[in-house]
Amino acid sequence: MDLPYKIFPLGDAAACIDLGNRIDAGLNRKVIAMNNWLRRNPFEGLKDTVIAYSSLSIYYDPINLRNKNKSVSTAFEFVRQNLETAYQESVAIEENNNDIIRIPVCYSNDFGIDMEFLVKEKNISREEIIHLHTSKIYRVYMIGFLPGFSYLGQIDEKLMMPRKLKPVPVAAGNVGIAGSQTGIYPLDTPGGWQIIGRTPLKLFEANAACPVVLGIGNQVQFYEISKEEFEKINLT
Protein backbone atom coordinates (compact mmCIF):
# COMPACT_ATOMS: atom_id res chain seq x y z
CA MET A 1 0.00 0.00 0.00
CA ASP A 2 1.27 3.46 -0.86
CA LEU A 3 1.53 5.64 2.21
CA PRO A 4 0.61 9.33 1.83
CA TYR A 5 3.88 10.26 3.46
CA LYS A 6 7.55 9.32 3.60
CA ILE A 7 9.64 9.41 6.77
CA PHE A 8 13.42 9.50 6.45
CA PRO A 9 16.45 10.46 8.56
CA LEU A 10 18.23 13.80 8.17
CA GLY A 11 21.40 12.43 9.70
CA ASP A 12 21.52 10.65 13.06
CA ALA A 13 19.88 13.45 15.05
CA ALA A 14 16.96 14.55 12.89
CA ALA A 15 14.13 13.07 10.84
CA CYS A 16 11.72 14.39 8.24
CA ILE A 17 8.18 13.48 7.23
CA ASP A 18 7.38 14.54 3.69
CA LEU A 19 3.78 14.66 2.50
CA GLY A 20 4.38 15.17 -1.20
CA ASN A 21 7.07 17.67 -2.24
CA ARG A 22 4.72 20.35 -3.52
CA ILE A 23 3.28 23.74 -2.61
CA ASP A 24 -0.23 23.05 -1.42
CA ALA A 25 -2.18 24.78 1.35
CA GLY A 26 -3.83 21.50 2.43
CA LEU A 27 -0.49 19.72 2.87
CA ASN A 28 0.95 22.74 4.66
CA ARG A 29 -2.00 22.76 7.09
CA LYS A 30 -1.39 19.08 7.82
CA VAL A 31 2.31 19.84 8.49
CA ILE A 32 1.28 22.57 10.94
CA ALA A 33 -1.20 20.19 12.60
CA MET A 34 1.49 17.51 13.05
CA ASN A 35 3.84 20.12 14.48
CA ASN A 36 1.18 21.23 16.97
CA TRP A 37 0.51 17.62 17.93
CA LEU A 38 4.21 17.03 18.61
CA ARG A 39 4.38 20.22 20.68
CA ARG A 40 1.51 18.96 22.81
CA ASN A 41 3.03 15.48 23.04
CA PRO A 42 6.79 16.09 23.12
CA PHE A 43 9.16 13.16 23.60
CA GLU A 44 12.33 13.27 25.67
CA GLY A 45 15.14 14.69 23.53
CA LEU A 46 12.98 16.77 21.15
CA LYS A 47 14.97 19.94 20.41
CA ASP A 48 13.44 21.76 17.47
CA THR A 49 11.09 21.40 14.51
CA VAL A 50 11.15 22.95 11.05
CA ILE A 51 7.90 23.48 9.18
CA ALA A 52 8.37 23.61 5.39
CA TYR A 53 5.89 23.63 2.48
CA SER A 54 4.97 19.98 2.64
CA SER A 55 7.34 18.52 5.21
CA LEU A 56 8.06 18.61 8.92
CA SER A 57 11.61 18.05 10.22
CA ILE A 58 12.26 16.99 13.80
CA TYR A 59 15.61 17.64 15.52
CA TYR A 60 16.40 15.53 18.55
CA ASP A 61 19.15 14.49 20.93
CA PRO A 62 19.57 10.74 20.33
CA ILE A 63 21.34 10.30 23.68
CA ASN A 64 18.57 11.81 25.81
CA LEU A 65 16.00 9.97 23.78
CA ARG A 66 17.65 6.60 24.25
CA ASN A 67 18.32 7.18 27.92
CA LYS A 68 14.56 7.51 28.40
CA ASN A 69 13.62 4.76 25.96
CA LYS A 70 16.12 1.98 26.57
CA SER A 71 14.37 -0.65 24.47
CA VAL A 72 14.40 1.14 21.10
CA SER A 73 16.70 -0.20 18.38
CA THR A 74 17.63 3.30 17.21
CA ALA A 75 16.50 6.79 18.16
CA PHE A 76 15.33 7.25 14.57
CA GLU A 77 13.03 4.23 14.85
CA PHE A 78 11.40 5.80 17.90
CA VAL A 79 10.99 9.15 16.12
CA ARG A 80 9.60 7.42 13.02
CA GLN A 81 6.85 5.79 15.08
CA ASN A 82 6.19 9.10 16.78
CA LEU A 83 5.79 10.85 13.44
CA GLU A 84 3.41 8.14 12.23
CA THR A 85 1.29 8.72 15.32
CA ALA A 86 1.46 12.47 14.74
CA TYR A 87 0.22 11.91 11.20
CA GLN A 88 -2.66 9.74 12.35
CA GLU A 89 -3.72 11.77 15.37
CA SER A 90 -3.39 15.33 14.08
CA VAL A 91 -6.22 17.12 12.33
CA ALA A 92 -5.51 19.86 9.80
CA ILE A 93 -7.62 22.93 10.37
CA GLU A 94 -8.29 25.83 8.07
CA GLU A 95 -7.01 29.11 9.47
CA ASN A 96 -9.36 31.93 10.28
CA ASN A 97 -9.02 34.02 7.15
CA ASN A 98 -10.56 37.18 8.56
CA ASP A 99 -7.20 38.52 9.65
CA ILE A 100 -5.25 39.58 6.62
CA ILE A 101 -1.93 41.26 7.32
CA ARG A 102 -1.54 44.15 4.89
CA ILE A 103 2.01 45.09 3.88
CA PRO A 104 2.80 48.41 2.15
CA VAL A 105 5.24 48.18 -0.77
CA CYS A 106 6.82 50.90 -2.85
CA TYR A 107 7.32 49.50 -6.36
CA SER A 108 9.47 52.44 -7.52
CA ASN A 109 12.44 51.54 -9.73
CA ASP A 110 14.70 52.92 -7.00
CA PHE A 111 13.78 49.87 -4.93
CA GLY A 112 12.45 47.39 -7.49
CA ILE A 113 15.79 46.91 -9.17
CA ASP A 114 14.54 44.04 -11.36
CA MET A 115 11.20 45.63 -12.34
CA GLU A 116 12.45 46.80 -15.76
CA PHE A 117 13.89 43.35 -16.48
CA LEU A 118 10.55 41.75 -15.60
CA VAL A 119 8.60 44.17 -17.78
CA LYS A 120 10.78 43.23 -20.75
CA GLU A 121 11.04 39.53 -20.00
CA LYS A 122 7.31 39.06 -19.34
CA ASN A 123 6.12 41.62 -21.83
CA ILE A 124 3.62 43.11 -19.39
CA SER A 125 3.42 46.65 -18.02
CA ARG A 126 4.70 47.56 -14.57
CA GLU A 127 1.15 48.60 -13.66
CA GLU A 128 0.00 45.09 -14.50
CA ILE A 129 2.84 43.56 -12.47
CA ILE A 130 1.88 45.69 -9.46
CA HIS A 131 -1.77 44.88 -9.96
CA LEU A 132 -1.11 41.13 -10.14
CA HIS A 133 1.20 41.22 -7.13
CA THR A 134 -1.18 43.22 -4.94
CA SER A 135 -4.49 41.61 -5.89
CA LYS A 136 -3.84 38.16 -4.41
CA ILE A 137 -3.97 37.09 -0.80
CA TYR A 138 -0.93 34.97 0.00
CA ARG A 139 -0.34 32.30 2.57
CA VAL A 140 2.83 32.19 4.72
CA TYR A 141 3.84 28.60 4.00
CA MET A 142 7.09 28.59 5.89
CA ILE A 143 9.85 30.70 7.44
CA GLY A 144 13.43 29.86 6.59
CA PHE A 145 16.57 30.98 4.74
CA LEU A 146 17.03 33.94 7.14
CA PRO A 147 15.55 34.96 10.49
CA GLY A 148 12.02 36.08 9.65
CA PHE A 149 12.13 35.33 5.90
CA SER A 150 8.63 34.13 5.04
CA TYR A 151 7.81 32.19 1.90
CA LEU A 152 4.50 33.46 0.51
CA GLY A 153 2.51 31.74 -2.20
CA GLN A 154 1.37 31.47 -4.73
CA ILE A 155 1.78 34.33 -7.16
CA ASP A 156 -0.10 34.72 -10.45
CA GLU A 157 1.33 32.47 -13.15
CA LYS A 158 2.04 35.51 -15.32
CA LEU A 159 4.59 36.72 -12.74
CA MET A 160 6.54 33.49 -12.29
CA MET A 161 10.27 33.94 -12.84
CA PRO A 162 13.23 31.73 -12.04
CA ARG A 163 15.65 33.04 -9.44
CA LYS A 164 18.93 34.62 -10.51
CA LEU A 165 21.85 32.31 -11.22
CA LYS A 166 24.09 34.17 -8.77
CA PRO A 167 22.94 35.90 -5.58
CA VAL A 168 23.41 39.70 -5.45
CA PRO A 169 23.36 42.05 -2.44
CA VAL A 170 19.78 42.70 -1.32
CA ALA A 171 18.59 45.33 1.17
CA ALA A 172 16.29 44.67 4.14
CA GLY A 173 12.64 45.20 3.20
CA ASN A 174 13.11 44.26 -0.45
CA VAL A 175 10.20 42.31 -1.92
CA GLY A 176 11.10 39.60 -4.41
CA ILE A 177 9.60 36.84 -6.50
CA ALA A 178 11.00 33.43 -7.47
CA GLY A 179 9.12 30.57 -9.09
CA SER A 180 5.59 30.67 -7.74
CA GLN A 181 6.68 32.35 -4.51
CA THR A 182 7.02 35.89 -3.24
CA GLY A 183 8.79 37.06 -0.10
CA ILE A 184 10.31 39.94 1.82
CA TYR A 185 13.98 40.06 2.78
CA PRO A 186 14.03 40.90 6.52
CA LEU A 187 17.77 41.70 6.60
CA ASP A 188 20.52 42.90 4.27
CA THR A 189 21.87 39.76 2.61
CA PRO A 190 22.96 38.22 -0.67
CA GLY A 191 19.83 36.88 -2.40
CA GLY A 192 18.70 35.52 -5.76
CA TRP A 193 15.05 36.55 -6.03
CA GLN A 194 13.84 39.13 -8.60
CA ILE A 195 13.32 42.35 -6.65
CA ILE A 196 10.19 44.36 -7.52
CA GLY A 197 9.83 46.73 -4.57
CA ARG A 198 10.51 47.46 -0.92
CA THR A 199 8.44 47.68 2.24
CA PRO A 200 9.28 50.26 4.93
CA LEU A 201 8.14 47.80 7.63
CA LYS A 202 10.71 46.00 9.77
CA LEU A 203 9.96 42.30 9.54
CA PHE A 204 12.58 41.12 11.99
CA GLU A 205 13.63 42.70 15.27
CA ALA A 206 15.95 40.52 17.29
CA ASN A 207 15.08 41.97 20.68
CA ALA A 208 11.32 42.21 20.33
CA ALA A 209 9.27 39.76 22.42
CA CYS A 210 8.21 38.20 19.11
CA PRO A 211 11.01 39.02 16.66
CA VAL A 212 8.99 38.27 13.53
CA VAL A 213 5.92 40.06 12.11
CA LEU A 214 4.65 37.19 9.97
CA GLY A 215 3.90 33.70 11.28
CA ILE A 216 3.42 30.41 9.45
CA GLY A 217 -0.20 30.08 8.28
CA ASN A 218 -0.84 33.86 8.23
CA GLN A 219 -2.65 35.52 5.31
CA VAL A 220 -0.83 38.43 3.68
CA GLN A 221 -1.74 41.02 1.06
CA PHE A 222 0.50 43.75 -0.38
CA TYR A 223 -0.67 47.28 -1.23
CA GLU A 224 1.13 49.93 -3.21
CA ILE A 225 2.51 53.11 -1.65
CA SER A 226 4.35 56.05 -3.19
CA LYS A 227 7.93 56.93 -2.45
CA GLU A 228 6.76 59.81 -0.24
CA GLU A 229 4.58 57.46 1.79
CA PHE A 230 7.48 55.04 2.02
CA GLU A 231 9.74 57.73 3.46
CA LYS A 232 7.02 58.79 5.89
CA ILE A 233 6.52 55.27 7.28
CA ASN A 234 10.26 54.69 7.27
CA LEU A 235 10.74 57.65 9.62
CA THR A 236 8.18 56.50 12.18
Partner: protein, 330 residues
Protein backbone atom coordinates in the same frame (compact mmCIF):
# COMPACT_ATOMS: atom_id res chain seq x y z
CA UNK B 1 37.96 39.54 36.35
CA UNK B 2 38.17 39.91 32.60
CA UNK B 3 40.17 39.49 29.44
CA UNK B 4 40.62 42.04 26.67
CA UNK B 5 41.09 41.68 22.95
CA UNK B 6 44.33 43.50 22.10
CA UNK B 7 44.25 42.50 18.45
CA UNK B 8 41.24 40.77 16.87
CA UNK B 9 41.49 37.59 14.81
CA UNK B 10 39.78 36.70 11.54
CA UNK B 11 36.61 35.53 13.28
CA UNK B 12 36.33 35.33 17.07
CA UNK B 13 32.80 34.74 18.36
CA UNK B 14 31.18 33.52 21.54
CA UNK B 15 29.43 30.20 21.07
CA UNK B 16 27.69 27.51 23.09
CA UNK B 17 25.91 24.32 22.04
CA UNK B 18 23.43 26.30 19.93
CA UNK B 19 20.02 27.96 19.97
CA UNK B 20 17.21 25.44 19.59
CA UNK B 21 13.47 25.73 19.24
CA UNK B 22 13.38 29.00 17.28
CA UNK B 23 13.39 27.53 13.79
CA UNK B 24 9.74 28.56 13.34
CA UNK B 25 11.08 32.13 13.20
CA UNK B 26 13.78 31.11 10.74
CA UNK B 27 16.44 31.37 13.45
CA UNK B 28 19.03 28.65 13.00
CA UNK B 29 20.79 26.89 15.90
CA UNK B 30 24.33 28.14 15.22
CA UNK B 31 26.67 27.17 18.05
CA UNK B 32 30.22 25.82 18.11
CA UNK B 33 31.47 24.28 14.84
CA UNK B 34 33.41 21.65 16.79
CA UNK B 35 30.98 21.06 19.64
CA UNK B 36 33.15 18.32 21.11
CA UNK B 37 36.20 20.56 21.56
CA UNK B 38 33.97 23.30 23.00
CA UNK B 39 32.53 20.86 25.54
CA UNK B 40 35.95 19.55 26.53
CA UNK B 41 37.21 23.13 27.05
CA UNK B 42 34.33 23.81 29.43
CA UNK B 43 34.81 20.53 31.29
CA UNK B 44 38.55 21.09 31.79
CA UNK B 45 37.92 24.33 33.67
CA UNK B 46 35.02 22.89 35.68
CA UNK B 47 32.16 24.55 33.78
CA UNK B 48 28.79 23.21 32.76
CA UNK B 49 28.77 22.36 29.09
CA UNK B 50 26.33 25.20 28.38
CA UNK B 51 28.73 28.00 29.28
CA UNK B 52 29.95 30.14 26.39
CA UNK B 53 33.45 29.75 24.97
CA UNK B 54 35.34 31.85 22.40
CA UNK B 55 35.56 30.19 19.01
CA UNK B 56 38.79 31.30 17.36
CA UNK B 57 39.64 30.97 13.67
CA UNK B 58 43.07 31.62 12.15
CA UNK B 59 44.61 34.24 12.04
CA UNK B 60 43.81 34.26 15.75
CA UNK B 61 43.55 37.16 18.22
CA UNK B 62 45.89 38.48 20.91
CA UNK B 63 44.27 38.37 24.29
CA UNK B 64 45.30 40.11 27.52
CA UNK B 65 44.29 38.55 30.84
CA UNK B 66 43.35 41.31 33.27
CA UNK B 67 43.15 38.84 36.12
CA UNK B 68 44.59 35.47 37.09
CA UNK B 69 42.45 32.83 35.43
CA UNK B 70 41.97 29.11 34.97
CA UNK B 71 41.63 28.52 31.23
CA UNK B 72 41.65 25.72 28.67
CA UNK B 73 42.28 25.79 24.93
CA UNK B 74 41.02 22.91 22.78
CA UNK B 75 40.45 22.07 19.14
CA UNK B 76 42.81 23.37 16.45
CA UNK B 77 46.50 23.83 17.23
CA UNK B 78 47.49 27.44 16.49
CA UNK B 79 50.63 27.12 18.70
CA UNK B 80 49.26 29.10 21.66
CA UNK B 81 51.87 31.17 23.52
CA UNK B 82 51.42 32.91 26.84
CA UNK B 83 53.95 35.70 26.79
CA UNK B 84 56.90 33.63 25.53
CA UNK B 85 55.82 30.30 26.95
CA UNK B 86 54.08 27.52 25.00
CA UNK B 87 50.69 26.61 26.37
CA UNK B 88 49.43 23.04 26.02
CA UNK B 89 46.13 22.21 24.37
CA UNK B 90 43.43 20.00 25.94
CA UNK B 91 44.77 20.79 29.41
CA UNK B 92 43.74 23.23 32.15
CA UNK B 93 46.21 26.07 32.70
CA UNK B 94 46.35 28.79 35.34
CA UNK B 95 47.50 32.03 33.72
CA UNK B 96 48.78 35.08 35.53
CA UNK B 97 47.28 38.55 35.42
CA UNK B 98 48.71 40.87 32.71
CA UNK B 99 49.95 38.09 30.48
CA UNK B 100 49.22 38.02 26.75
CA UNK B 101 47.94 35.00 24.87
CA UNK B 102 48.69 34.76 21.18
CA UNK B 103 48.59 32.15 18.44
CA UNK B 104 51.52 32.72 16.07
CA UNK B 105 51.43 29.61 13.89
CA UNK B 106 48.82 27.37 12.37
CA UNK B 107 49.77 23.73 12.91
CA UNK B 108 46.51 21.85 12.59
CA UNK B 109 42.78 22.44 12.31
CA UNK B 110 40.33 25.23 11.60
CA UNK B 111 39.11 26.56 14.95
CA UNK B 112 40.10 26.42 18.59
CA UNK B 113 38.12 27.16 21.74
CA UNK B 114 39.04 29.20 24.78
CA UNK B 115 37.12 28.54 27.98
CA UNK B 116 37.61 30.35 31.29
CA UNK B 117 36.59 29.04 34.70
CA UNK B 118 33.03 30.18 35.43
CA UNK B 119 32.30 31.21 31.87
CA UNK B 120 31.85 34.66 30.35
CA UNK B 121 29.45 37.22 31.72
CA UNK B 122 27.18 37.86 28.72
CA UNK B 123 23.41 37.85 28.18
CA UNK B 124 21.58 35.03 26.51
CA UNK B 125 19.47 35.75 23.45
CA UNK B 126 16.60 33.28 22.97
CA UNK B 127 18.07 30.95 25.52
CA UNK B 128 21.57 30.69 24.08
CA UNK B 129 24.91 32.52 24.23
CA UNK B 130 25.75 31.73 20.60
CA UNK B 131 26.49 34.63 18.26
CA UNK B 132 24.05 34.86 15.35
CA UNK B 133 25.92 37.12 12.91
CA UNK B 134 23.01 37.26 10.43
CA UNK B 135 20.57 38.49 13.07
CA UNK B 136 23.27 40.59 14.81
CA UNK B 137 22.13 39.07 18.09
CA UNK B 138 23.44 36.74 20.79
CA UNK B 139 27.02 36.37 21.98
CA UNK B 140 28.96 39.61 22.45
CA UNK B 141 26.55 42.28 21.11
CA UNK B 142 25.69 40.03 18.19
CA UNK B 143 29.05 40.43 16.52
CA UNK B 144 32.57 39.08 16.29
CA UNK B 145 35.09 40.37 18.82
CA UNK B 146 36.92 43.62 18.08
CA UNK B 147 40.00 45.35 19.41
CA UNK B 148 39.36 46.73 22.88
CA UNK B 149 36.48 44.41 23.76
CA UNK B 150 36.54 43.39 27.41
CA UNK B 151 34.91 40.12 28.40
CA UNK B 152 34.15 39.64 32.08
CA UNK B 153 34.23 36.28 33.84
CA UNK B 154 31.29 35.07 35.91
CA UNK B 155 33.55 33.72 38.65
CA UNK B 156 37.06 34.43 39.78
CA UNK B 157 39.76 31.77 39.76
CA UNK B 158 41.10 32.70 43.18
CA UNK B 159 41.49 29.09 44.39
CA UNK B 160 43.53 28.19 41.35
CA UNK B 161 45.65 31.35 41.31
CA UNK B 162 47.39 30.02 44.42
CA UNK B 163 48.97 27.34 42.24
CA UNK B 164 51.07 29.91 40.37
CA UNK B 165 54.63 29.66 41.67
CA UNK B 166 56.67 32.79 42.40
CA UNK B 167 57.16 34.70 39.19
CA UNK B 168 55.76 32.01 36.88
CA UNK B 169 53.27 33.27 34.31
CA UNK B 170 51.72 29.86 33.81
CA UNK B 171 50.93 26.68 35.71
CA UNK B 172 49.67 23.65 33.79
CA UNK B 173 47.50 21.38 35.87
CA UNK B 174 48.71 17.79 35.63
CA UNK B 175 45.86 16.18 33.67
CA UNK B 176 44.58 16.39 30.13
CA UNK B 177 41.79 15.14 27.93
CA UNK B 178 42.60 12.24 25.62
CA UNK B 179 40.69 13.00 22.44
CA UNK B 180 42.66 10.93 19.94
CA UNK B 181 39.69 8.68 19.17
CA UNK B 182 37.53 11.63 18.11
CA UNK B 183 40.05 13.12 15.69
CA UNK B 184 41.85 10.04 14.33
CA UNK B 185 41.71 9.46 10.56
CA UNK B 186 40.74 13.11 10.00
CA UNK B 187 40.08 12.67 6.28
CA UNK B 188 37.80 9.64 6.60
CA UNK B 189 34.27 10.87 7.19
CA UNK B 190 31.32 8.54 7.68
CA UNK B 191 27.95 9.50 6.31
CA UNK B 192 24.48 8.04 6.08
CA UNK B 193 22.50 8.27 2.86
CA UNK B 194 20.20 11.24 2.38
CA UNK B 195 16.66 11.13 1.02
CA UNK B 196 17.82 12.21 -2.44
CA UNK B 197 20.73 9.72 -2.61
CA UNK B 198 18.65 7.63 -5.02
CA UNK B 199 18.45 10.57 -7.42
CA UNK B 200 22.18 10.25 -8.14
CA UNK B 201 23.10 8.22 -11.21
CA UNK B 202 24.73 4.87 -10.47
CA UNK B 203 28.02 6.25 -11.70
CA UNK B 204 27.75 9.31 -9.46
CA UNK B 205 26.97 7.15 -6.41
CA UNK B 206 30.14 5.20 -7.18
CA UNK B 207 32.17 8.37 -7.86
CA UNK B 208 31.02 9.90 -4.59
CA UNK B 209 32.25 6.95 -2.53
CA UNK B 210 35.42 6.21 -4.51
CA UNK B 211 36.85 9.72 -4.90
CA UNK B 212 38.35 12.33 -2.65
CA UNK B 213 36.89 15.81 -2.42
CA UNK B 214 38.82 18.97 -1.58
CA UNK B 215 37.66 21.65 0.85
CA UNK B 216 37.38 24.96 -1.05
CA UNK B 217 38.63 28.28 0.41
CA UNK B 218 35.13 29.79 0.17
CA UNK B 219 34.08 27.53 3.06
CA UNK B 220 32.79 29.22 6.20
CA UNK B 221 30.60 28.69 9.27
CA UNK B 222 27.55 28.29 7.01
CA UNK B 223 28.94 25.54 4.84
CA UNK B 224 32.04 23.75 3.57
CA UNK B 225 32.20 23.87 -0.21
CA UNK B 226 33.83 20.80 -1.73
CA UNK B 227 35.48 20.44 -5.11
CA UNK B 228 35.81 17.14 -6.91
CA UNK B 229 34.43 15.02 -9.71
CA UNK B 230 31.04 16.57 -10.67
CA UNK B 231 28.05 14.41 -9.70
CA UNK B 232 24.83 14.02 -11.66
CA UNK B 233 21.23 13.16 -10.88
CA UNK B 234 18.93 10.88 -12.89
CA UNK B 235 15.99 12.82 -11.62
CA UNK B 236 16.30 16.59 -11.83
CA UNK B 237 12.71 17.36 -10.90
CA UNK B 238 12.27 20.39 -8.69
CA UNK B 239 12.30 20.10 -4.94
CA UNK B 240 10.33 22.44 -2.73
CA UNK B 241 12.32 23.73 0.25
CA UNK B 242 12.55 21.32 3.15
CA UNK B 243 14.46 20.90 6.41
CA UNK B 244 18.24 20.42 6.45
CA UNK B 245 20.73 19.79 9.24
CA UNK B 246 24.31 20.44 10.39
CA UNK B 247 26.23 17.89 8.30
CA UNK B 248 23.74 17.66 5.42
CA UNK B 249 25.57 17.16 2.09
CA UNK B 250 23.75 19.02 -0.68
CA UNK B 251 24.33 18.64 -4.40
CA UNK B 252 24.47 22.03 -6.11
CA UNK B 253 23.27 22.61 -9.70
CA UNK B 254 26.88 22.65 -10.97
CA UNK B 255 27.48 19.11 -9.70
CA UNK B 256 29.62 20.16 -6.73
CA UNK B 257 28.87 19.54 -3.06
CA UNK B 258 28.34 21.70 -0.01
CA UNK B 259 28.26 20.33 3.53
CA UNK B 260 26.07 22.49 5.76
CA UNK B 261 27.80 23.63 8.95
CA UNK B 262 26.77 25.26 12.24
CA UNK B 263 25.38 28.49 10.73
CA UNK B 264 23.39 26.70 8.02
CA UNK B 265 19.92 27.87 7.01
CA UNK B 266 17.00 25.96 8.50
CA UNK B 267 15.69 24.90 5.07
CA UNK B 268 17.10 24.22 1.64
CA UNK B 269 15.99 23.18 -1.82
CA UNK B 270 18.94 21.17 -3.14
CA UNK B 271 19.13 17.35 -3.15
CA UNK B 272 20.33 15.99 0.20
CA UNK B 273 22.55 13.14 -0.89
CA UNK B 274 23.95 12.36 2.55
CA UNK B 275 24.56 13.49 6.10
CA UNK B 276 27.85 13.47 8.00
CA UNK B 277 27.30 11.46 11.18
CA UNK B 278 27.30 13.51 14.40
CA UNK B 279 30.35 11.71 15.81
CA UNK B 280 32.42 12.79 12.79
CA UNK B 281 31.28 16.44 12.68
CA UNK B 282 34.07 17.57 15.06
CA UNK B 283 36.87 16.22 12.89
CA UNK B 284 35.10 17.30 9.70
CA UNK B 285 34.75 20.86 11.08
CA UNK B 286 38.51 20.91 11.70
CA UNK B 287 39.32 20.38 7.99
CA UNK B 288 40.90 23.38 6.28
CA UNK B 289 40.78 24.67 2.69
CA UNK B 290 42.72 22.30 0.37
CA UNK B 291 42.36 19.40 2.83
CA UNK B 292 40.91 16.30 1.21
CA UNK B 293 38.00 14.24 2.47
CA UNK B 294 36.86 10.74 1.68
CA UNK B 295 33.27 9.76 2.47
CA UNK B 296 32.31 6.31 3.73
CA UNK B 297 28.77 4.97 3.99
CA UNK B 298 27.61 3.75 7.37
CA UNK B 299 24.22 3.07 8.96
CA UNK B 300 22.17 4.80 11.60
CA UNK B 301 22.67 2.22 14.32
CA UNK B 302 26.46 2.53 14.06
CA UNK B 303 26.28 6.31 13.87
CA UNK B 304 24.21 6.45 17.06
CA UNK B 305 26.48 3.96 18.83
CA UNK B 306 29.55 6.07 18.02
CA UNK B 307 27.86 9.22 19.28
CA UNK B 308 26.82 7.52 22.51
CA UNK B 309 30.34 6.25 23.11
CA UNK B 310 31.73 9.75 22.50
CA UNK B 311 29.26 11.19 24.97
CA UNK B 312 30.17 8.54 27.55
CA UNK B 313 33.83 9.55 27.26
CA UNK B 314 32.78 13.15 27.91
CA UNK B 315 30.92 12.09 31.06
CA UNK B 316 34.01 10.29 32.32
CA UNK B 317 36.08 13.39 31.59
CA UNK B 318 33.53 15.58 33.35
CA UNK B 319 33.68 13.48 36.54
CA UNK B 320 37.46 13.28 36.48
CA UNK B 321 37.85 17.06 36.03
CA UNK B 322 35.32 17.70 38.74
CA UNK B 323 37.20 15.46 41.20
CA UNK B 324 40.62 16.90 40.32
CA UNK B 325 39.44 20.50 40.63
CA UNK B 326 37.63 19.77 43.89
CA UNK B 327 40.85 18.56 45.46
CA UNK B 328 42.42 21.95 44.68
CA UNK B 329 39.48 23.97 45.95
CA UNK B 330 39.00 22.03 49.19
Amino acid sequence: MSLSIIKPGLLDTLQDHGRYDYSHWGINPGGAMDAYAAQVANRLVGNNDNESVIEIHFPAPQILFNQNALIAITGADFSPLLNEQALSLWQPNVVRKNTVLQFPKLKYGAMCYLAVHGGFCIDKWLNSYSTNLKASAGGFFGRQLKKGDELFFKENSIYFAGLLKDEDTLESLPWRADVRKVYEHPHEISIIKGNEWERLTGKSQYDFIENNFIVHPSSDRMGYQLRGIPLKCDNNSDMVSSGVNFGTIQLLPDGQLIVLMADHQTTGGYPRIGHVISAHLPKFAQLRPSDSVHFKLTDLALAEALLISQQNDLHILERACHDHLNVIVC
